[in-house]
Symmetry: C2
Subunit: 202 residues, 2 copies
């Protein structure tokens, strides 16, 4: 998978292994030739494809990549593709959460709806390209709560929940999360693509 985020790699393995028991998930730290592409596309789908194609190019192996983010109603679906760098510092979750809560300070409860969206792209050496999507609807609360997950999990309460997604055990979050949904959707596609490789893999 075209990611260096150990939590994402773990999450992918956790989900994929239920469909493809012998699967092995490699991250970018296993792919020294990977040339980090700029994520310049205005859509999750576009950025996921950029990363999956770069991962395939660097390794010659089938490659998955996701691009995901938080789309807040009161911000016209932003931070969106800019979720990781919303506060201007790449991947500073604490700064991003703080900025988001400040921006929404005067936004009343009935307008604090939001959703996580995820696109997962899968590219294979024989030119197959697939993109699947997943989402998780909920709302933005007013303080940070919980230490699990990453990104905006600590300020987001999924619909039907009272806990933030950072307060939910991983398996419970996977069952409803945007990334869980999209990884489960892509799993059979991955399984089909890996089948011809036989049991020598994994």
């Amino acid at each position: 998978m075209a990611s260096r985020n150990p939590k994402k790699l773990e999450e992918l393995h956790r989900i994929l292994v239920t469909v493809v028991p012998a699967v092995e998930v490699l991250g970018l730290d296993d792919a020294p030739a990977y040339d980090e592409p700029a994520e310049t596309e205005p859509t999750f789908e576009g950025n996921a494809l950029i990363k999956a194609r770069a991962g395939l190019a660097a390794t010659g192996l089938p490659c998955l990549a996701d691009d995901s983010g938080l789309c807040v109603d009161a911000l016209n679906a932003m931070p969106g593709v800019l979720s990781a760098r919303w506060a201007g510092r790449a991947k500073d979750d604490a700064a991003n959460n703080r900025l988001l809560l400040e921006q929404l300070k005067d936004v009343p409860d009935e307008r604090r709806g939001a959703e996580f969206r995820c696109a997962v792209a899968f590219c294979t050496p024989d030119g197959q390209e697939d993109v699947v999507f997943g989402e998780m609807r909920g709302r933005i609360i007013r303080t940070v709560r919980g230490t699990g997950g990453f990104g905006y999990d600590a300020v987001f309460v999924p619909d039907g929940e009272t806990r933030t997604s950072a307060e939910m055990p991983a398996a419970e979050k996977d069952a409803i999360s945007h990334r869980g949904r999209s990884l489960r959707a892509v799993a059979p596609i991955v399984a089909a693509a890996l089948a011809p490789l036989g049991s020598t893999h994994g």
Copy 2:
């Protein structure tokens, strides 16, 4: 006018005086009874009305208020109504500009379009309420340039210009600006409402 911003009061007077020569513009510092309302509406129109109504209530005088902001294409028309507090610190222009430029760092030139939008509300003691609009289309550059204006003027180049709106003389900016357009649109409405008051005012 329901504003404490001396630059806005000056700009309003500069424009109104061309239509209503004897007009006198009072700001909120002249209205100690004004109770600062929260700008909680999701639209410029809604917030302008909140402020104009509060100004009328505090003074018993006809009151104008504007709400305006920068709508950036690549941010789905945000910062919008949150323009003044985009970086979380109320009315810190430098912090807001810095954050915006960082958020747009990877956005290519062809997707850096933006527009300033302004709504001006006018409320009178006899219950008349009007709202007019103005806009100025342009693009977001990559560094801060110019010391005139305020808000996001230093990162915005209007269509047909090479200067930022912070590099343009006030009169040239007024001629094309969102606030200039909406204040010129409201001026005849103000003139008509003030006419019955006669020459004892101003």
